[in-house]
Structure formats: structure tokens, C-alpha cells
Amino acid sequence: MCHQSVGLTARHLEANGIPTVILGSAIDVIKHCGVPRFYFVDFPLGNPCGKPYDLEMQRSIVGAALQLFETVSEPRTVVKDPNNWGTHEWRQRYMEIKPEDRARMSRQGEERRRERQRLREIGHTRQD
């Protein structure tokens, strides 16, 4: 959802004369939304600028992302960063639903809907 909010904001900035680059890790959300320039870092969500405490990698990623301001001439341009996270297990584990989780998730959903209803009744606007 972070990528969608950022995508909508980047579109607004561009429409009002400010060039943007998005540096992020959820390529499907960004491509579905449609943004001018996206630098894609294929890492778990949370560290788009590089691995924690790896300043050299962060310099390399941020520097490459900024190049898009000068090199991109058309919208919907996506450039992929060459760095690797090193492992791939996280790809499958993120929001993974195992058969044994389903009953618990169903109960969570019920609780969530009750909480939403309660918040609506006291005038809150948040829906998540």
C-alpha cells in the first residue's frame, strides 16, 4: 500500500511540474498504477535503499536511482537494480497462507470487521 500512496503522489507532483523518481521494491503495484520513473530494487519490502548498514550498497543504489532524472525521456520507465538480497525464501514467506493458518485468519478477519464497525460508529475514518 506504501507503493500505491507514493505512486499517486508522484503522479500529482509530475502533473504539477516536479520530476520524480520512485525507489522501491513492489514492482507490480507501481506498474499497475503507472508512474513516470521507477528504480526497482528486488529486496524484501523495507530496505529499498540497500541492505541495513551496507553504506556502499546504499550509495550505489541511491546514486543509480538518481540517474533516472537525467536519462529517462518517457513515462512508465522501470530500471532494475543489479544487487541481490542473497536469499530467496522471503519471496514465498511474505503473507504466506498455510493450511493450518486459515482458521486463525478467518477469526482475525471477523475481529477486524467488528473493529472497523466500532470505529465507524465513533466517527473514525481509518479503514485498515
Partner: protein, 173 residues
């Protein structure tokens, strides 16, 4: 070429192609379906994409940085609102418990891994960019696309203009 163009095909099976990007929209749909929500979320989608070319070299441009982290606990706030902090007075970390980053695979203990203030400052000192805007901006993550489009995005634009930013780097968690 330092980077390569990336093609993304959402029609893949994650179990069959472990090196492929995660399809977050599909994961989210399945997750909420398992929680019993009947209507799938309609993600923002546009055919047209606005585009503003760079007006002057990056070495003469002032850059604003925008994060989806926050300086305060958004779980306690309703509605959430755009916030800004001084780029020269960075906190040790940003509040992000409410966001859907991968809390099993990684952590946010290093601010530089998601708010590139230090690297941008270095690049300004090197002359690669003209300068860094005096404030970084915190954009609330919202399910309501209307709230982002009509409230938060215009506020971010106004603050970028106040800071005389020429370009913006947006870094979602």
C-alpha cells in the same frame, strides 16, 4: 550499463520461479480472501502517466525526499496527516509498525536503508546534486486513494514548493 531495463510479468507461479519479483497485489488479495473479506481491493490503475522532464541538470537541482515512514505513532492518530522533519536533525529511526514491510525478512534499524538522507547529503557535497531540501516529508500510507489524491499529495506538493525543491525522490517502505 549499470542497470538494465526490467520486464515484469505478473502471470507467474512464485513456487515455480523463486527468483521472480513478488506479486504483492495477488498476495494481498489472497490474504484478505482468507480473512473472509468478500470484495477484492481495487488497486489504483491509470492509462495515462504525467511526465515532467528535468529542467536543469541534477547538479543544479534541489531534491526533496519523501518516505512512508513517520516521525510519530500513526496507530494513535486519526486521520493520519503529512508530516515533515528537518533533514539536518534526523531521528534514529522512523515509526513504521503500521506498514506492511517484510518484518520477518529484515528490519528498519538502519535509517539509511529506507531514508537516504546521508547518501543524498554526500552527493550534494560531491556536487552530483545541487542541494537537499531542508525537510524530508512523511506521506501516510492510505487504503483510501481519494484521501491520498485529494489531501496528502497536494500537501506534499505544497511543502516541496515551499522548500523550492526542483525534483523529488519518493521512497516507499
Amino acid at each position: 550499463m549499470f542497470s538494465e531495463k526490467c520486464e515484469f510479468d505478473p502471470k507467474y507461479d512464485i513456487a515455480m520461479h523463486e527468483n521472480q519479483p513478488v506479486h504483492y497485489m495477488e498476495r494481498t488479495r489472497l490474504y484478505y480472501e482468507a480473512q473472509g473479506f468478500e470484495r477484492a481491493y481495487q488497486w489504483a490503475h491509470f492509462e495515462d502517466v504525467p511526465f515532467t522532464p528535468l529542467e536543469k541538470p541534477l547538479s543544479d537541482s534541489r531534491i526533496a525526499v519523501i518516505t512512508t515512514g513517520s516521525r510519530y505513532d500513526r496507530l494513535l492518530t486519526d486521520p493520519r496527516f503529512v508530516d515533515s522533519g528537518e533533514i539536518d536533525e534526523l531521528p534514529s529511526h522512523l515509526f513504521a509498525k503500521d506498514l506492511a514491510w517484510d518484518k520477518e525478512a529484515t528490519h528498519l534499524d538502519d535509517l539509511g536503508s529506507y531514508l537516504p538522507a546521508q547518501v543524498l547529503s554526500e552527493l550534494a557535497n560531491l556536487g552530483t546534486i545541487g542541494s537537499v531540501a531542508p525537510r524530508f516529508h512523511c506521506l501516510p500510507t492510505e487504503y483510501s486513494q481519494r484521501r491520498t489524491r485529494e489531501t496528502d499529495a497536494p500537501e506534499i506538493l505544497a511543502r516541496c514548493r515551499e522548500d523550492q525543491a526542483d525534483v523529488a525522490l519518493l521512497v516507499p517502505l
